[in-house]
């Protein structure tokens, strides 16, 4: 029973390589394009078969040479399924919007990226993961630099990835030096032996595990484009739309996967707090970037960064299954929004034209209704049969869902509507919220079955609830109580910070205060 599955797993990695060859040879012809797409669809089918297999049976390991094992578990299969389905949507889109010669390069390199992503997802050991990771970096670098006119975006990307990959390879080297090869089942033991190696720097005692953990988190921060890492994601806007869709849907996710897979190495280290700080910091900063930007793709870039921040924070507090649920859903969400970015002009006109169909509803009433709607969803969640509500991270999902349904109602009821329609809306939003909770509980339950990961000892999901309340409180304060001048200042800061700061190296000289003084003299006179 196991053996055919091993072949299927290997097939998944080989299919995109075939696609790569086909793309290189015939990517400009219709037949070649269809062949590559066909291979991706077959890949999707194989991933689906594997998904059925891991649902019915248990995870299985395919050992390989040099400690490069592959694993067929639910996490890996889900990750591969996601990568293949994104490709299956983006590839035909790209075939129609890119010029043929550009598409050929896109086909070749996107298939290379697919192999690398699937290898990363289904890696059965640290070594295999790093191999997939570095291959993916290389594929992304080549993909962007071969589709961008001009090289600026790609250079920044290359530097960033070299930093991140260097950190990860460093972590692998230390681990290997200490313990030899490490498959996932052996990882807790590896973590223990790393923690045993202590190095005292004066009063501070550092373990080898700390060093490895920091390197891993740095690598994850770079790949997921988090603050305070390099801002490579916005520089890739110079690439065509389908490339952006692939980057935002697939590549940035790997940071989360890395943390989840290597979590046994991170327990009792500064790794988790570091990831939490980077995650929450990015989620907060980029959320503001998302709302101030008026260009579609710029807003999407900031949105991705903030979503990745949230995902990373979920990983850092040990809510791994929720993080994977978020990562998968967000990838699908963001790929679609990028593909539809051309609709930006028409969408804005539509909104403007239909913005005054009804009069505004009074704010207090809206608040009350939104609160009632949120409370309704909360009550529903209490009585509904949700498998993971009883577990620690269930409260996290429910809290966020309640806040969101309140937010949706708040917007929905901005304009006056007949009472019956308002009630209907509230029922619909609550029902939608419940459906979301049930679905997330199903997916999370599926993913978490038989999975007992290493969780951080100090941090818990309630930290994220606290962060949400803090952010909500701050926003409410700014919206209600801050004077307009302060709001304008915050907005201006966020606005300029959301764009890459231009290098002022060409400025011939820093202005002396001469002129300023002249003007101020005049004023004082």
């Amino acid at each position: 029973m196991i053996a055919p599955m091993n072949y299927l797993l290997l097939t998944m990695l080989v299919l995109p390589l075939l696609g790569l060859l086909a793309g290189a040879m015939a990517g400009e012809s219709l037949v070649g394009r269809r062949f590559v797409l066909g291979l991706v669809l077959v890949n999707l089918g194989v991933a689906a078969v594997l998904a059925v297999r891991v649902t019915l049976g248990s995870a299985f390991l395919v050992p390989g040479p040099w400690g490069l094992a592959l694993v067929g578990d639910r996490l890996g299969v889900l990750f591969s399924l996601l990568a293949a389905s994104i490709q299956a949507t983006v590839l035909p889109y790209a075939a129609r919007c890119l010029e043929r010669s550009v598409f050929r390069r896109f086909a070749v390199l996107s298939q290379a990226l697919l192999t690398a992503s699937e290898l990363t997802g289904m890696a059965g050991s640290f070594g295999a993961l790093v191999l997939g990771w570095v291959a993916a970096s290389l594929a992304v670098y080549l993909l962007v630099s071969n589709t961008v006119p001009g090289q600026r975006g790609a250079r920044q990307l290359g530097v960033a990835f070299m930093l991140g990959d260097g950190a990860l390879v460093g972590a692998l080297a230390i681990t290997r030096h200490v313990t030899g090869g490490a498959s996932w089942s052996a990882l807790p033991a590896v973590g223990a032996s790393l923690r045993a190696i202590r190095l005292s720097l004066g009063p501070v005692v550092v373990t080898a595990a700390d060093a490895v953990a920091v390197l891993i988190v740095v690598s994850a921060i770079v790949r997921s484009a988090l603050w305070p890492g390099p801002r490579w994601l916005s520089s890739t806007l110079a690439a065509p739309t389908p490339v952006s869709a692939l980057l935002h849907a697939g590549v940035v996710n790997a940071g989360g996967l890395l943390l989840i897979r290597l979590s046994p190495l991170l327990v009792s280290t500064p790794g988790f707090p570091l990831a939490l700080a980077a995650g929450l910091g990015t989620a907060a900063l980029s959320s503001v970037g998302t709302v101030v930007r008026s260009d579609v793709k710029g807003a999407l870039v900031h949105s991705t960064m903030s979503q990745m921040g949230f995902m990373m924070a979920e990983c850092a507090v040990g809510a791994y299954t929720l993080a994977v649920f978020h990562l998968v859903a967000h990838a699908m969400y963001k790929a679609s929004l990028f593909l539809n970015s051309g609709d930006g002009i028409a969408a804005t006109v539509r909104d403007r034209q239909s913005s005054a169909l009804a009069v505004r509803a009074p704010i207090n009433l809206r608040l009350i209704k939104a609160a009632i709607g949120g409370a309704g969803l909360f009550l529903l969640a209490l009585v509904a049969p949700l498998t993971h509500v009883v577990r620690g991270d269930g409260a996290l999902t429910v809290t966020f869902a309640v806040v969101t349904s309140g937010a949706l109602l708040w917007g929905w009821l901005e304009r006056k509507q007949p009472l019956a329609q308002e009630l209907w809306t509230m029922v619909m939003v609550a029902a939608g919220g419940l459906a979301y909770l049930i679905w997330s509980s199903v997916v999370v339950g599926w993913l978490g079955a038989g999975w007992s990961p290493a969780v951080p000892t100090l941090l818990s999901p309630s930290w994220l609830i606290a962060a949400l309340l803090a952010a909500g409180g701050f926003t409410a304060l700014v919206a209600c109580a801050a004077p307009p001048r302060v709001v304008a200042q915050l907005q201006a800061r966020a606005l300029w910070a959301s764009w890459r700061m231009p290098s002022p190296k060409g400025i011939p000289s820093i202005a002396r205060p001469r002129g300023v003084e002249v003007v101020s003299c005049k004023e004082s006179v």
Partner: protein
């Protein structure tokens, strides 16, 4: 004391007035850019009209990194293809009185010469106008980022607050938080910003003093700065001069832009160091060879075109037509007219697609009315859509549906803004969005919105008075030469191009309707022409429309070549048989038209019949990944003014704007004057837009469509860039790195006596500038046997290039 104070303020006012004049003349380097939701093609060098074509190109290439002529590589290919020949060159040299033996070798050497700037041929390779100059790039990047937020019409969820004071005041209020200024000025920044004048003009004057720019060099220095941000300056030009008084978008002015830009410079730069660092103003390239090649290239086409026009009475149009169909002058109508006439006894007319009724139209659920007339006119009334009789309940239902959609959109915005909820929104929607994206990609299907039957009546409140309606109707009918012999059905057919997820969608719409679909204009005009009171008024003025004639509105979708009859509910029952016949003929003509057009589009499946091709084009139009749903007006080349008999039955390949004109109805030339000062200018703008988007894509083209990033609901950025892109995308004029559009100046062929044209040119200075400045070629055909071209202030009999070179050779021997 008071006297002194007064004179000081007078001096200040004079200084400001002079400044504004200088700013205006500096900004004339660039043309206005309409927002993309109502794209209007313009001549990008229209501000330099009085310099003539060659002069304007020379002036523009002094400031902007562009050539302005087809590249030598392009010409070399065309020369080898035989598209331009030695005979054409000879003819041009003779016209220009240049020595043939000396010049011809020079021209051939030019073909293999180097190219100064990589011009056309490299898609998307945009020249970052300020990249080479570090400090200006840094300043412009900060300014342009601020412009993106300032000009936003509601794309961001947290838009800037009070903007009515203009860009400069808005910027000054928050400039102290600009990281660039903070880094360079450190603790002095708040003080320095507070010391800036509150008024933009004063700030600009101050900055000019600080930067030591004297009044003599002011225009040049301002022009250099204008050239650094062509997109935003062009957009500001539209906003301040063309947007109309009741425009809701934020007030952006060129002087504000310059005030911010130069305030940055004054704050950051040392004038002495900057002078040393400033790029030299280039002298403008020597472009005589390029101009001659271009003229020869145009000459070749003109010879072909004029040779096609019939010398004798050709096959005649239907005498008693089953229906008369009026199309827009748009070049894309030419194909449809030809195919329709081939299917049955129809006569067709060409007229500006707003059908003479300059109104703004608001849909039932719309907040704003949008202008539906050429931008050279301003709307004379607002027509609101109202439900047709018996449709009130359906209309109420429709409005509720739209309100619900708006509420969902508000919910979406709130969900994206409230802390925490974007994460859940992504988790909840992703599972649904990707499958639907896959379906959209694999099986493209356009969403067609269906609403209740409605009426657009310009006689309603807020619309036009009866007198105005009669006047506009009479003008329209006289101009198109349709004053007698009305058929039972007269169709007014507007046009639109329906594409999705396409920022430049409105570039495919009707230019005569200000970049909007032409259907509503057709409905307004048809409604007025069917109105009994209007018909009585027309009869009093001598245009008698028999009661059995019915005016129909229709819309031609140029992307799919399908024609929809509009306002079907208004048509009396008696017309059913004719209508059926007409519709089936229109459908057949559309299919033939689609089949002809499909040949030129890339990636069209081979071995398909016309039905399959039409289906393929429909799929293409609904495809969100498609970057070239149709070619639009690419390859447009000529403007023919005359009766249809002049062009009847001739394949003009969809390259010709056609305006109907009956010389006998226009003894005093007023109708012709209207055509040559209105529709002709619009056509010239379109032609020039395509020309410059093709030959100078770095500056006057919008670049690669796959890099486009819609901003603020008004325009696109390209990739990482922050300046608005002007002009047409590269994919609208070229495919696989090769130009599809043939860059040529418009040739205008008019069937009219020379004296009439002389008189019009005498009266109208713009026309004189267009013709005299060689922005277009004017060819007159006083009779079927003769053609004259206007050159250097007089009429020359048209000689085909082959005959000129033949005579030359004979003379030399």
């Amino acid at each position: 004391m008071q006297g002194i104070g007064l004179s000081a303020s007078t001096v200040a006012a004079a200084a400001r007035a002079r400044l504004l004049i200088d700013v205006e003349s500096a900004a004339r380097l660039l043309a206005p850019m309409w927002p993309l939701h109502s794209f209007v093609a313009v001549n990008p060098l229209m501000g330099l009209l009085e310099l003539g074509f060659e002069g304007a190109v020379r002036e523009a290439s002094r400031w902007l990194p562009m050539q302005g002529y087809p590249s030598p590589q392009f010409m070399e290919e065309e020369y080898h293809r035989g598209r331009v020949t030695d005979a054409d060159l000879l003819a041009v040299l003779v016209d220009r009185r240049l020595d043939v033996n000396q010049t011809l070798p020079l021209l051939h050497a030019w073909l293999s010469g180097p190219e100064a700037i990589p011009a056309s041929g490299k898609a998307g390779e945009q020249v970052d106008l300020a990249r080479d100059v570090g400090w200006s790039y840094a300043i412009d990047a900060q300014l342009a980022a601020f412009c993106c937020a300032f000009a936003d019409e509601g794309a961001s969820t947290w838009g800037l607050g009070e903007r009515s004071g203009g860009l400069y005041r808005c910027w000054r209020a928050v400039a102290a938080y600009d990281p660039l200024l903070r880094r360079q000025l450190r603790h002095r920044v708040a003080h320095a910003i507070a010391a800036l004048p509150a008024d933009p003009e004063e700030a600009l004057l101050n900055a000019l003093v600080r930067l030591d720019i004297s009044e003599v060099h002011r225009v040049a220095q301002l022009r250099r700065r204008v050239a650094r941000l062509p997109g935003w300056v062009s957009y500001a030009q539209w906003r301040q001069e063309w947007s109309g008084p009741d425009c809701a978008s934020p007030p952006l002015r060129v002087v504000d832009l310059l005030a911010v830009q130069m305030s940055y410079e004054a704050l950051l730069l040392d004038p002495e160091a900057m002078k040393a660092n400033a790029p030299p103003i280039s002298a403008g390239s020597d472009s005589v060879c390029a101009a001659i090649w271009l003229e020869a290239y145009e000459r070749h086409y003109q010879d072909d075109l004029l040779a096609k026009l019939p010398v004798r009475q050709g096959p005649e149009e239907a005498k008693s037509p089953q229906a008369q169909i009026v199309f827009c002058i748009d070049a894309r109508s030419e194909r449809l007219r030809r195919h329709l006439e081939a299917t049955g006894p129809y006569t067709t007319f060409g007229f500006a697609g707003f059908f003479g009724f300059p109104v703004a139209v608001a849909g039932m659920a719309d907040r704003y009315a949008t202008a539906r007339c050429p931008v050279l006119m301003s709307p004379r009334g607002v027509v609101r859509e109202r439900p047709a009789a018996g449709q009130e309940r359906a209309a109420a239902f429709y409005l509720r549906k739209r309100a619900r959609a708006a509420a969902v959109h508000n919910a979406w915005r709130a969900g994206k803004t409230v802390p925490g909820s974007p994460f859940v929104l992504a988790e909840a929607l992703g599972w649904w969005l990707l499958p639907s994206a896959s379906i959209r990609t694999f099986w493209p299907r356009g969403a067609r919105r269906r609403g209740p039957a409605t009426v657009l009546d310009s006689g309603d409140a807020g619309g036009l008075s009866l007198h105005e309606r009669i006047l506009f109707a009479e003008n329209a009918l006289l101009s198109m030469g349709l004053v007698r012999g009305f058929a039972r059905l007269v169709v007014l057919c507007g046009h639109t191009g329906r594409t999705i997820a396409n920022p430049h969608a409105s570039a495919l719409d009707c230019g005569a309707c200000a970049g909007a679909p032409g259907g509503p204009s057709a409905r307004v005009a048809a409604r007025a022409l069917n109105c009994p009171a209007v018909r009585t008024g027309l009869a009093e003025r001598g245009v008698y429309i028999p009661p059995e004639s019915w005016f129909l509105a229709a819309e031609h979708d140029t992307t799919t070549d399908t024609i929809t009859i509009l306002d079907r509910h208004l048509i009396p029952d008696g017309y059913a048989p004719e209508l059926r016949r007409l519709e089936s003929d229109l459908a057949e003509a559309g299919r033939r038209c689609a089949a002809e057009r499909a040949g030129a589009l890339p990636d069209i499946p081979r071995r398909t019949n016309s039905r399959q091709l039409a289906a393929h084009l429909a799929k293409r139009a609904a495809d969100w990944a498609q970057i070239r749903p149709e070619w639009g007006l690419a390859r447009n080349a000529a403007f023919v003014v005359g009766p249809r008999s002049l062009t009847f039955g001739i394949n003009l390949e969809g390259r010709v704007f056609m305006h109907s004109y009956e010389p006998v109805l226009d003894a005093d030339g007023t109708i012709l004057e209207g055509i040559l000062t209105g529709p002709l200018v619009v056509a010239q703008w379109i032609n020039a837009q395509y020309y410059f988007s093709s030959v100078a894509p770095e500056v006057f083209g919008a670049g690669d469509k796959t890099l486009h990033n819609p901003v603020g609901g008004i325009g696109v950025l390209s990739g990482e860039g922050r300046d608005l892109k002007i002009g047409l995308p590269w994919q609208s004029v070229a495919a696989s790195g090769e130009l599809y559009h043939e860059p040529m100046r418009l040739v205008v062929v008019v069937q009219a006596p020379l004296e009439r044209l002389d008189a019009i040119m005498e009266r109208d200075s713009v026309l004189r500038q267009l013709v005299g400045g060689r922005w277009l070629y004017l060819v007159a055909r006083p009779s079927r046997m003769q053609a004259y071209v206007w050159r250097e202030g007089t009429w020359h009999s048209w000689q085909p290039a082959t005959s000129t070179s033949g005579r030359m050779r004979a003379g030399q021997e």
